[in-house]
Symmetry: C2
Subunit: 202 residues, 2 copies
């Protein structure tokens, strides 16, 4: 049975919700392409998780817009915002459709690979093990870009997503990192997150 959670109203800034929805939906497209390109169920699962999260954000946004609109003028000026939110939701659905191809094991036809081959961002998903040296460190002090040419573009912490994390964001154990970079750097950061590599090289 499909798990459906009741979404309850809570006051959240419409601006923040819309920006999160837009950023997430764009990231999902890149993730879905990478999931198909590398036939990666782990990446595809993250896309599905994001899709559910965007559904919740859509409900929250629509409820907060309703509460914010006091009269006809407010309603007219805010209706465009709900349209943009719906567009982000549609984009996230499209990303989930692509991810589903990976999860349903339909098979990634060579034509699909060719279509996604020129995608600039090759992304991967990395889980941070409790004994990894990453846990407890701030992103800035890790200097991952300089050290191994990789970039953490998003962090999932339970059900919360942090897109484009700041330098002072501290990585916690059990975080899921979405990382972009060349294959060699990705391999290194995977080892570090797994805990098999115990030291950061200079």
């Amino acid at each position: 049975m499909v798990r459906v959670e009741r979404v309850r109203y809570k006051p959240v800034g419409v601006r923040d919700l819309l920006i999160e929805m837009k950023d997430l939906s764009e990231l999902m497209i890149d993730l879905a392409y990478s999931a198909a390109l590398f036939d990666s169920p782990a990446l595809a699962e993250e896309v599905m998780e994001m899709e559910r999260h965007i559904d919740t954000l859509t409900y929250l946004l629509n409820m907060n817009v309703m509460v914010a609109a006091r009269d006809a003028d407010d309603a007219e000026s805010l209706v465009g915002v709900t349209k943009v939110a719906r567009a982000a939701d549609k984009i996230s659905d499209a990303a989930a459709d692509i991810a589903a191809i990976v999860l349903q094991r339909i098979g990634i036809h060579p034509i699909i690979r060719e279509a996604f081959e020129n995608v600039e961002e090759h992304l991967t998903r990395i889980g941070v093990k409790p004994d990894s040296v990453l846990a407890g460190k701030q992103l800035g002090e890790l200097e991952l870009a300089a050290r191994m040419g990789v970039d953490v573009i998003a962090i999932r912490r339970g059900k919360k997503w942090i897109i484009d994390p700041e330098e002072n964001e501290t990585i916690e154990k059990a975080d899921v990192l979405i990382v972009r970079g060349a294959p060699q750097g990705i391999e290194e950061i995977e080892g570090i997150a797994e805990g098999t590599i115990r030291e950061l090289e200079d």
Copy 2:
């Protein structure tokens, strides 16, 4: 009345169709954001035009997939391709929804502008007048990036779209260019396309 054209089967490579759909749908998202950010009906109209074009491509792709599939194995391996095509179609619909906000004059709420502000690509649409010095020139010889810091990322020629045109692509009069760049360079290329600026400066 909505103009609906009959789409007739013609043999086109499924690979080429899928790549065009993917590239177009991604460009449309960027264009739609820019249309909203600058409240530009001209850009929004291009998005709408692209959306109709993608609809046609979807029909063509589905028909060519049907003809290509000779047996159950072919069908199984190709069904993922139609799913990706449908996802590109959905993304293009979302872009058209955003463009419609501009065209329906619903009004671009400041929250929408804030959400799109960080969009990396600021795009504009430029029509090439017959007496412009651009007409008849190859993109490469124009050296637009070096001269004025702008980049032609797509050309519309009637109903045909050329995404990421090559250096040896010749600009024709009446072409519509989608250009990315800083405001000053955009202003210059606009003058050149209009024919009010008659010479390319070094």
